[in-house]
């Protein structure tokens, strides 16, 4: 079972449990108190630099750093992939939803998204109402959306070829986290995907509750899905002329499923596949 569903799911998927969105409401700031989020980020950034340099120089301490960094992220800022159908459900319970400029794309490709038409990152819950304190994080401002607008926005980005994930932030209230971010990502300008694929930091991006499978009778080999996979799990099998998905590499984001014009790719529950039910 997914570790976050076990802790915070209360009988449903953890990101579909509305309690996990409200904790920000109860957080109080006290004078002179350094929020966990800030001290966590300082520690994380320091470890990142140390770990990435150790990997670059092929040092032995890299593995030790990887484990401590992964543990830190597991407790403070995990992130999980989810398919479009779950995002649409999530938006209904996670108001307010606001779109804003993506911090990963800003850092990695110096993207300067300046209008609601360009925004690719999503913020969830009442925490978003405080955005004006740090306009540098939210360059160009934030755009609050109705449920319908938000669903259309995510669907548009999905069509464009971006996969979705939800982000959790630290100890919101009584040590329990709150869901605060809804990202729309692609490789290489998303650090969650990169840290998982390139640096094996698993809790930066957990796999979704689903896994994709091809219906070979329906697949006609058009190849649209192959352009959409962000994880290198889907290839065109040249000899058969059909799509082929490596289920061990699949993150279950559902981009191939939503892009398929013939409905030849299905998402099945990860828990229904014996060898994958503990692979997150």
């Amino acid at each position: 079972m997914c570790e976050y569903c076990e802790k915070y799911g209360e009988g449903t998927l953890w990101y579909l449990n509305s309690r996990n969105y409200g904790r920000q409401l109860y957080r109080r700031s006290r004078p002179g108190y350094v929020p966990d989020a800030i001290s966590y980020r300082q520690e994380r950034d320091k470890l990142w630099t140390e770990y990435f340099e150790a990997v670059a120089d092929g040092l032995e301490k890299a593995e030790r750093l990887r484990l401590s960094l992964d543990k830190l992220v597991q407790e403070n800022e995990p992130c999980q992939v989810l398919p479009l159908k779950d995002v649409l459900k999530l938006i209904e319970i996670a108001q307010p939803v606001a779109s804003m400029s993506c911090i990963c794309r800003k850092q990695m490709r110096a993207a300067d998204e300046r209008s609601p038409a360009e925004y690719t990152c999503g913020g969830l819950g009442v925490g978003m109402l405080k955005w004006e304190r740090w306009p540098e994080r939210y360059r160009g401002g934030v755009h609050f959306m109705s449920i319908k607008e938000a669903q259309d926005w995510v669907t548009r980005l999905d069509r464009k070829g971006m996969m979705h994930c939800v982000m959790v932030y630290g100890s919101g209230y009584e040590g329990r986290p709150f869901v605060g971010g809804l990202c729309n990502c692609d490789y290489p300008d998303c650090y969650e995907i990169r840290h998982r694929l390139d640096y094996k930091l698993d809790h930066h991006l957990l796999k979704s509750h689903y896994v994709a499978m091809v219906d070979f009778n329906r697949c006609n080999g058009c190849g649209i899905c192959a352009q959409r996979c962000q994880f290198g799990a889907l290839k065109m099998e040249a000899s058969r002329g059909k799509a082929s998905i490596d289920m061990l590499r699949c993150f279950g984001c559902g981009l191939c499923h939503t892009g398929c014009p013939r409905d030849a790719i299905q998402l099945v529950q990860r828990e229904s596949v014996p060898q994958l039910k503990e692979v997150w």
Binding site: F52, V55, A56, G58, Q107, M108, A110
Partner: protein, 95 residues
């Protein structure tokens, strides 16, 4: 495998967020640009010298293709390939 060393002359590279040439051309996406000047209630100006800093984040992925050095308008990037020890080379040849 040891990755190449990349050094950035921050005296020359002053407005990386506005210039963004290396960030956009790097096939491996090795660089990060960060706002070092964060003021409450104020957006950082992209053209202000020194307000942004270019860093090398994912050096392990660098292939030393030299594209960033080629496009840099102020020649701020230096790449040093890892030295291959003479002993290692000899060892490989004699096998």
């Amino acid at each position: 495998m040891v990755a190449p060393k990349i050094s950035i002359d921050h005296g020359k590279c002053t407005t990386p967020f506005d210039c963004k040439k290396c960030l956009r051309i790097c096939p491996q996406g090795v660089f990060w640009v960060l706002p070092v000047k964060n003021v409450r209630f104020k957006e950082t100006d992209a053209k202000e010298p020194g307000a942004w800093k270019l860093i090398v984040q994912y050096r392990a992925l660098c292939t030393d293709c030299g594209e960033c050095r080629r496009v840099c308008p102020v020649a701020a990037i230096t790449i040093t390939s890892p030295a291959i020890s003479a002993k290692g080379e000899k060892g490989e040849r004699t096998g």
